[in-house]
């Protein structure tokens, strides 16, 4: 399994938030190792050391406007230089956790709303009291950003239990081709993108890591069998959909505004040539069955230009769809 990279402060505001947060934290910890503090704040030890050096030379201008020692923070320098430990010995002006900004509170509240349909968060009162606390933690209320709860099915609970117990699941999966197969899967992770939920795991039938849409899964059962050796050593790539050597590359014209909507299908190294309102680029698909569905969803916005077989596959699909309205008995 992959471990997320610790996200470092990216700009001055992030760095300021770290400085303001470090002070109350260090006041509560008489002497803390740099590594321990770095782990607590999900940043690198170097970022912590840089922040502490900055804190140690900062403070108030004072009466004389000359930043005299009594007006500055101070640390135990020997502890830092010899033992890589931080001990604040003098503080000025601030000593408490800062409030959340309107957007910070909103980000957490909207995240909670999205997760509120998870079975273990069924306690509505506990959830709304948590959101109310965040709202109260701001100076002027949270920003108006909200996410409707994700529609989750029982399958999510079953799969998550299997992931925790490291056991297999059996399921019927309908592919984009339209055929259904019974599969045994070592479940590794449940992921979502907005309203779409995915199971990623080791597929025994394909002998590879596969991503399954939850809404294409039927008759899922937990078998209780321990997951295979393969699954135990899998490193899940960050991208949901991985290209494979057998993938087909297709040339498309995309209306510029629709480009972000099909970004997942465009290989990183594909050229994107702007031509008026249209961008000429390429998409990668496992087979034309997936392609025709995707293109038909973006009528007038995505057009296949080559190869010819791909154009025919899309045209046949649209023609067959249109034909259903001409002769309903067909």
């Amino acid at each position: 399994m992959t471990v997320a990279e610790p996200a470092g402060p990216r700009d001055a505001r992030d760095k300021l938030a770290l400085l303001l947060s470090l002070i109350p934290y260090l006041m509560d910890h008489e002497s803390a190792s740099v590594d321990e503090v770095a782990a607590a704040f999900d940043v690198s030890p170097k970022q912590i050391r840089d922040a502490v050096y900055l804190i140690a030379v900062s403070g108030l201008p004072g009466e004389s406007h000359s930043y005299l020692p009594g007006d500055l923070f101070d640390i135990d320098w020997d502890e830092l230089e010899q033992h890589d430990r931080i001990a604040l010995t003098h503080t000025v002006a601030i000593d408490d956790t800062p409030r959340l900004s309107a957007r910070e509170a909103a980000a957490l509240i909207a995240g909670l709303q999205y997760l509120s349909s998870l079975p273990e968060h069924a306690d509505r009162d506990a959830m709304s009291s948590l959101m109310a606390k965040l709202e109260r933690g701001t100076a002027a209320g949270a920003a108006q950003v909200a996410v409707a709860p994700a529609a989750l099915r029982d399958t999510v609970a079953t799969i998550r239990e299997a992931i925790e117990k490291r056991t297999q699941v059996d399921l019927d999966y309908v592919s984009a081709r339209g055929d259904s197969e019974r599969r045994t899967v070592d479940p590794l992770r449940i992921e979502s993108v907005n309203d779409d939920w995915y199971l990623r795991g080791w597929c025994h039938l394909r002998e590879a890591v596969r991503t399954f849409r939850l809404d294409r899964i039927d008759h899922l059962v937990s078998t209780g069998q321990p997951i295979s050796e393969h699954a135990a050593h899998v490193v899940l790539p960050e991208r949901l959909f991985q290209g494979s050597a057998e993938d087909l590359t297709v040339s498309v014209d995309v209306v510029a505004a629709a480009l972000p909507l099909i970004a997942d299908y465009i290989p990183d190294d594909a050229a994107r040539i702007q031509d008026g309102d249209v961008v000429h680029t390429k998409v990668r698909v496992a087979h034309y069955h997936g392609l025709k569905r995707m293109v038909a969803r973006f009528a007038g916005q995505v057009t296949v230009t080559a190869p010819e077989e791909a154009r025919i596959a899309v045209a046949d699909w649209a023609r067959a769809g249109a034909a259903r309205y001409e002769d309903p008995t067909a």
Binding site: A12, R13, R103, L108, A139, A146, P260, A299, R311
Partner: protein
């Protein structure tokens, strides 16, 4: 010639400390002449306009972090800008002391923060967690193998979010489905909401003087954030907007003839609130005809819409468009979109 450069965060940090420490507040010239990061560039009696502009930007940065930087008028000289004093009241800076979280709540908050992996909400949630860590509560074990994510990929998201936070009017071009030309909208943004996977802006449309909801994916180009402020009259716009969208969803229904065992059947039958009627057809709810038509067109022959007629027309139109685009100028097959 140029004084040693002080990093931005050092200047901001010094400014926060100084403004928290002052009770009466400090004037702009007192700040610029004394605070680390400004003082070495301050010219007594000279032109400090560049420094003043920097101070304005720094105030915005500090306020965006949720720090209540106040402006106090000189009671003896109201209206005089030079007499304005700045301060950060300690009580409004500190998180209220009674706000605490259990280890379980902390784990939930950390999970909620990971929902955002991109854009400004990701930075915002990271900073929020950073601040809350100082409370010293250890989170329960994180949930293994669970990576929920909400995307904010639409180009309009960021400018709308900025306009929302600053309570300023925003202008944009909007293409309604079925129309060929985008129209210019001038709105007061009230809330950004995601409903069934789609981001929408709920706003007061100044053109029609009424509330309207806009799909971000239909905004053309980049919205223009103005400096024109407005006052919100109500609260809770976001939850009201979601309630309204839910009412529309409940009201709109379609009957679909779906071929059993197909991809369309498996997915549509799992749609929220979908059910099968006595004819074996699927009844589904939806919020927007064009969005549902896009999805149904993707299923090609696996689905036939029975009603409503406007959905039938929208799906047929899309299929014809796709067929025409993929048969024109190739010599393969006729453009027989009329059957």
């Amino acid at each position: 010639m140029s004084p040693q450069k002080v990093p931005v965060e050092e200047r901001l940090f010094s400014l926060v400390l100084t403004l928290v420490a002052t009770e009466a507040g400090l004037t702009k010239s007192e700040i610029l002449s004394s605070v680390q990061g400004y003082n070495s560039r301050y010219r007594e009696g000279g032109d400090n306009s560049a420094l003043e502009r920097q101070f304005e930007r720094d105030k915005d940065d500090i306020r965006e972090l949720g720090i209540p930087l106040e402006t106090v008028e000189d009671p003896g000289d109201p209206g005089n800008n030079q007499g304005l004093r700045y301060r950060i009241p300690k009580a409004a800076y500190d998180l209220p002391a009674d706000i605490t979280f259990s280890p379980q709540e902390m784990a939930l908050l950390r999970l909620a923060a990971t929902v955002w992996r991109e854009g400004s909400l990701s930075a915002d949630s990271r900073r929020a967690i950073m601040k809350l860590r100082t409370l010293g509560v250890e989170a329960d074990d994180p949930l293994v193998g669970f990576a929920p994510r909400v995307r904010t990929r639409e180009a309009a998201f960021e400018p709308f979010e900025v306009a929302l936070e600053r309570s300023v009017v925003v202008n944009f071009d909007y293409l309604k489905p079925g129309e060929t030309e985008a129209t210019k909208r001038i709105v007061e943004p009230l809330a950004l909401v995601q409903f069934h996977g789609r981001w929408l802006l709920h706003a007061h449309d100044k053109g029609v003087d009424a509330p309207r909801t806009f799909l971000l994916s239909r905004v053309i180009g980049r919205p223009r954030v103005t400096q024109i402020g407005f006052t919100r009259r109500g609260t809770d716009y976001a939850s009201h907007a979601i309630d309204e969208l839910q009412k529309i969803w409940d009201r709109n229904q379609a009957e679909l003839d779906v071929l059993p065992g197909t991809d369309a059947w498996v997915r549509l039958s799992k749609r929220e609130d979908a059910r099968r009627n006595d004819d074996g057809n699927l009844l589904v709810h939806y919020s927007d005809t064009a969005l549902l038509a896009d999805e149904l067109a993707g299923y090609g022959p696996e689905v036939r819409v029975i009603w409503p007629q406007r959905l039938v027309d929208a799906v047929r139109e899309r299929l014809r468009t796709t067929l025409t685009a993929h048969t024109a100028n190739t010599g393969v097959g006729e453009v027989d979109d009329r059957g």
